[in-house]
């Protein structure tokens, strides 16, 4: 009973949070800064997308580890669903970033360590999808996909750590290292939308992930029933 209750409470909470974030994000006062002006509101949406993506993909990394420990195909399905969800949030993050860049830097893309890191991360996960698509046997596909995902995740993590070192300073806002957690720079008036925004988008991404995972589970079941007849 309590579990069922909790099952929709957090979703209602997420909706309320995001309604607040969208309204507050578009309407509340923001500090007037040169060049950036109103585009600063993008921080509530763009940064939220990256937090969600990293959260979901880290979850996927854990699922892949769990798959290799248990060889239970359930974890493979979960890992696959995290990649599909994470990629959508990553692509939204790139799109929101590009629109912002066009309005402030005057270009859609430029050679910057943070932008390149994001692009390479997305390439790795697209490659993961291709790897899965080229294997037919479910057990083998799950095994290879999990091995590649763990290998790639660790290498990418190191890459992002050493990237600022090899590419020099970044034009992207935020401190070196983590672009989002530069809360010291954030005006107090913006914090009351920014922190709910992060939490809201992360919860929302987890919600989307559960839907993707359940859809996959159902279509697996349908395929299984079809193959029996």
């Amino acid at each position: 009973m309590t579990k069922k209750y909790w099952n929709y409470t957090w979703k209602i909470f997420t909706i309320l949070l995001l309604v607040y974030v969208i309204m507050g994000g578009l309407l509340f006062d923001v500090p007037a800064l040169p060049v950036i002006h109103q585009t600063i509101r993008n921080i509530y949406f763009h940064v939220g997308m990256w937090f969600s993506m990293i959260f979901i993909l880290f979850l996927g990394f854990l699922f892949s580890l769990m798959y290799l420990r248990s060889f239970d195909l359930k974890y493979d399905r979960m890992a696959f669903a995290t990649v599909k969800t994470g990629l959508v949030f990553g692509i939204l993050g790139i799109i929101t970033g590009m629109i912002w860049a066009q309005n402030t830097w005057g270009t859609w893309w430029l050679n910057d360590p943070k932008l390149n890191g994001a692009a390479v991360g997305i390439l790795v996960y697209l490659a993961y999808l291709i790897l899965r698509a080229s294997l037919d046997d479910p057990e083998k596909r799950a095994r290879l996909a999990a091995v590649y995902k763990i290998f790639a995740f660790v290498i990418m993590f190191v890459f992002i750590m050493i990237l600022p070192r090899i590419s020099g300073p970044s034009i992207h806002p935020g401190v070196d290292g983590n672009p989002a957690l530069a809360t010291g720079d954030l005006a107090p008036v913006m914090r009351k939308v920014f922190f709910p925004a992060i939490l809201g988008w992360i919860l929302f991404s987890y919600w989307i992930y559960t839907i993707v995972e359940r859809t996959d589970k159902i279509s697996e079941k349908i395929n299984y029933l079809n193959s029996e007849n």
Binding site: V124, L131, L135, K140, R143, L144, A146, I155, I162, S167
Partner: protein, 226 residues
């Protein structure tokens, strides 16, 4: 009894490397193919880039050619294992010994190919880094890095259809950190940096090699057993 197990793994690695070496030697045409690939690519670049070559282009181009050559070499390291031989090896040695021996043999062959490619590159594209000690050091450590990263990717890709494409799309994004550090360090070497100036970059490369070796030895057993 770890004191007993560790020398055993070394012995296994040495024996496996001997086997790999014999196999390479018996299939000299395959190795010759990669050498020819290297020569043709360098020659095509020589003709295409004539007159528009700067030092930075020279350097970046060289590393991209080496990356593709490594891809081609490493691609076949798991393809010619028949399933019967796989089973036989599986009963005999530990999976870590297999992946380490493959990485080592690929690294050694790549060192030879890298030196050959470098000499040819200097011959055709102009002698820019001919006797530069720092450059040679970066070259030798760099090809070891390529080999260690890509061997594991090859182990994954060899089990799927569409090998070469898959190998490239799985490998290149992961190769990028290594490639960027290498291009940076080698360009510094050309511009006159001593070994002490690029030691930081060399350590980053060694770190990447260590990480990919560790991950390979942890993850390869899962690929090996079917």
């Amino acid at each position: 009894m770890p004191e007993l197990i560790i020398p055993m793994v070394f012995k296994e690695i040495v024996n496996l490397m001997h086997k790999e070496f014999l196999l390479e030697w018996r299939q000299k045409h395959a190795l010759g193919g990669i050498v020819l690939y290297l020569v043709s690519t360098i020659f095509i670049c020589y003709l295409s880039f004539a007159g528009i070559m700067t030092v930075a282009t020279w350097n970046a181009l060289f590393w991209i050619i080496i990356a593709f050559a490594t891809l081609n070499l490493v691609l076949k390291s798991f393809n010619d294992e028949t399933s019967g031989r796989k089973l036989y090896l599986y009963t005999l040695v530990s999976p870590s010994a297999i992946i380490f021996s493959k990485i080592l043999i690929n690294a050694i062959v790549m060192m030879v190919l890298g030196i050959l490619g470098f000499l040819l590159f200097n011959l055709f594209m102009g002698n820019i880094a001919g006797t530069n000690v720092s450059y040679w050091l970066v070259l030798l450590i760099g090809v070891v890095g390529f080999a260690s990263l890509l061997t594991m990717i090859s182990a994954i890709a060899s089990q799927a259809k569409n090998n070469f494409t898959l190998m490239a799309i799985l490998g290149f994004p992961l190769l990028l950190p290594l490639l960027l550090v290498l291009i940076r360090a080698s360009l510094a070497a050309i511009q006159g940096a001593g070994i002490l100036d690029i030691v930081g970059d060399l350590l980053v490369i060694l770190l990447l090699v260590m990480i990919s070796l560790t991950l390979s030895s942890i993850l390869f057993p899962y690929l090996w057993k079917e």
